[in-house]
Symmetry: none
Subunit: 405 residues, 2 copies
């Protein structure tokens, strides 16, 4: 069910909304019965805020589905992640902050090891270091700046992973992958799935060949497998769907890229890493210009991915220390949640729901006393899906008219 | 997802169901931390019923969406309100209890003030009193009984709002609105969106012209803007979908009209306003004839719309006093809920969920002790959507077979 036509019809002017995303904030106990990262953290400011707020539990995408950053965030932005799909190549381009333009085709590449007959021996070329990857990418940039009239741009991602962006006239992303998904077979030919993609398939096949020539003296990294050819998607904008002038305050390319995809203005942020002070400065200086702010913090997820339970606890406490300054901005509606869980126990994203906190007018009292997974379950918002958050924020900001007479 | 084919396949004979709707019963505290209307009310009978029942929290339509009476009720009747849409003109006709027949086209009209050049100066003609509206409607009835072979029926709604019903051969509702939605422009021409609606568009344009002629000496109310042309929708009936002989016991035209749309027999009710005794009498006298009763009370919503917190509390208490007589009817399954919230704080419908109470066989025990928003959250039914109520009632009444072998 696509509700965008309904939001488009019902939105009106109203209060200012601040959506804070603590990436991967949901967690798990290290041992059964123990506290999660949020439960272990000492968060006096957040505790006080939770008392004045209402909570709920939010399943970002679907029960049991572990969201990547793309689907997790698109859902929080109200974009059904099964309908608004970002291809793998495009996601890589967003994640790297690559120069990725309308009409470009992005491809996710894996370096591979091929035998003398051209069959794949190792689909990840022995998992080279990222430094090794960078060395080989430099070689490819030099050797293959273009194919026919198409510019070829190479980017290191990490280990065996890289990105290629093709730029030129008449490209389209309807082509098959070249990764055979197993060893003992040669890389596949890219095949066009429609006429508009014939040129792209030809260029990708020439690219595979040129890479093998350029790397023929490399012992391990001597081939490439491509997946997920994709153009930059065209999604309806926040302005169009919700009538919101929206801004993103984030430090990492992936989140800036996702925000830009839905038409948010990405504000420059000074500083390294999560850049707490830089983000506050960006918010303060632009507070009057926008109706909606998306504020992203990354380190909770990063520590979770590292399996560093106490590091993640520390990041939650660092956020807690920053909270009074965020509240001082005075948003009419404040929401705090995560795009998914990243339990340190799993060292990875997980499918578990995340707590949602909502502060604003027109709240019902509830018995949730802290911003934790277990307390969120007692919240008066009940159990929601990621895509249901935006209409709720609009409603509390007085921005949605009645549906039907 | 349309589940009607499944209900049609699985329904069988079973117990008698009574669905009681306290319109707009959900509320908000007047100040943070305070009680809602339901929490403030003294409801000894309802408290006792809640002890013996199971509860749940019900989001009538969608998180954040504030339902009008149409979508709110259709959802409770199990009709997906995004699929089963009633046009604005048709809803007005239902709300006024107008003589509205198959093939008629209903239009919602706004009286407007036009300048000498025919441009809209005020889209609501200075919000005239309803008496003023009635005076002008009487003039129009006299002046424009028909156009070509089409009967024109005028109805006062309130203030600047009125209803027109067109009746004749070859009418259809695929036409554009004439309301330009802003001042400084002349009313728009109604345009047909398909061939079948060409005649209707012509009649509506002639009607706009004839209204201007008839009202040319009026200082303020000298034009009309039309929206939401709609025929009476044809929805599948309760009998067809659920196998239920269903009756509606309601006093207000809108709810009688909505019930009739889904094939309920609308029982006559004696008395004014919410007519408590008249409704009980209608139930008692028809108890054997039907499998399903929809019993509606309006005043909880009306007091909420007035911003009268304690008035709404009083209506809840009046309902509580009536409850023993309702229970004495002995339905096999009793459900009590609202079609939406109408917090006195907001003086309007809102998006907040409503409590749902279910009494019948096969209940799980739960910790909800009162029919209130906060207690409902602890109920064993969990958090439901409006459209999910009907299958639950059918199940508890033993009226749904197993789905799949």
């Amino acid at each position: 069910m696509d509700l965008f036509p309904i939001y488009k019809e019902l939105h009106q002017k109203g209060g200012k909304i601040l959506l804070v995303v603590l990436d991967g904030v949901g967690g798990l106990p290290l041992e059964p019965g123990g506290p999660t990262e949020l439960e272990a953290a000492k968060t006096p400011n957040l505790d006080r805020l939770a008392e004045e707020s209402t909570l709920g539990l939010l399943t970002p995408v679907y029960p049991g589905l572990t969201p990547g950053s793309g689907p997790g965030h698109l859902a929080l932005f109200g974009y059904d992640p099964f309908r608004y799909v970002v291809g793998r190549g495009a996601l890589s381009a967003l994640g790297l902050g690559a120069d990725f333009r309308e009409g470009d085709v992005a491809l996710r590449g894996n370096f591979a090891t091929l035998d003398p007959e051209g069959k794949v021996v190792d689909r990840r070329a022995g998992r080279p270091s990222t430094e090794e990857n960078q060395r080989v990418i430099a070689k490819l940039k030099e050797a293959i700046p273009r194919i026919e009239d198409v510019e070829v741009h190479f980017y290191t991602e990490s280990e065996h992973r890289f990105l290629v962006i093709l730029r030129g006239e008449g490209l389209s992303d309807g082509i098959t992958d070249t990764d055979p998904q197993k060893t003992g077979l040669p890389p596949l030919e890219a095949k066009p799935l429609n006429e508009a993609s014939a040129k792209t398939a030809r260029i990708v096949n020439l690219l595979s060949q040129r890479i093998r020539e350029a790397l023929k003296d490399e012992p391990r990294i001597n081939g490439a497998l491509f997946r997920g050819a994709s153009q930059k998607p065209r999604f309806p904008s926040f302005q169009e769907v919700y009538g919101l002038r929206a801004a993103a305050v984030a430090s990492y390319p992936m989140y800036k890229g996702l925000a830009a995809l839905v038409g948010m203005e990405v504000l420059p942020v000074e500083g390294e890493g999560d850049a707490h002070e830089g983000k506050l400065k960006a918010l303060r200086e632009n507070w009057e210009r926008f109706d909606f702010f998306y504020l992203h913090f990354k380190k909770t997820d990063a520590k979770g991915e590292d399996g560093d339970f106490w590091g993640k606890v520390g990041e939650i406490e660092r956020f807690d220390a920053l909270l009074p300054e965020i509240l001082a901005l005075g948003p009419d509606v404040l929401a705090l949640t995560g795009d998914h869980s990243t339990p340190a126990l799993l060292k990875a994203h997980s499918w578990h729901p995340v707590p949602l906190l909502l502060k604003g007018p027109f709240l019902r009292r509830d018995e949730a006393r802290r911003f934790t997974e277990a307390e969120a379950l007692k919240g008066s918002l009940g159990h929601l899906r990621g895509v249901e958050l935006m209409p709720l924020l609009l409603a509390h900001a007085g921005r949605l008219l009645k549906y039907g007479a």
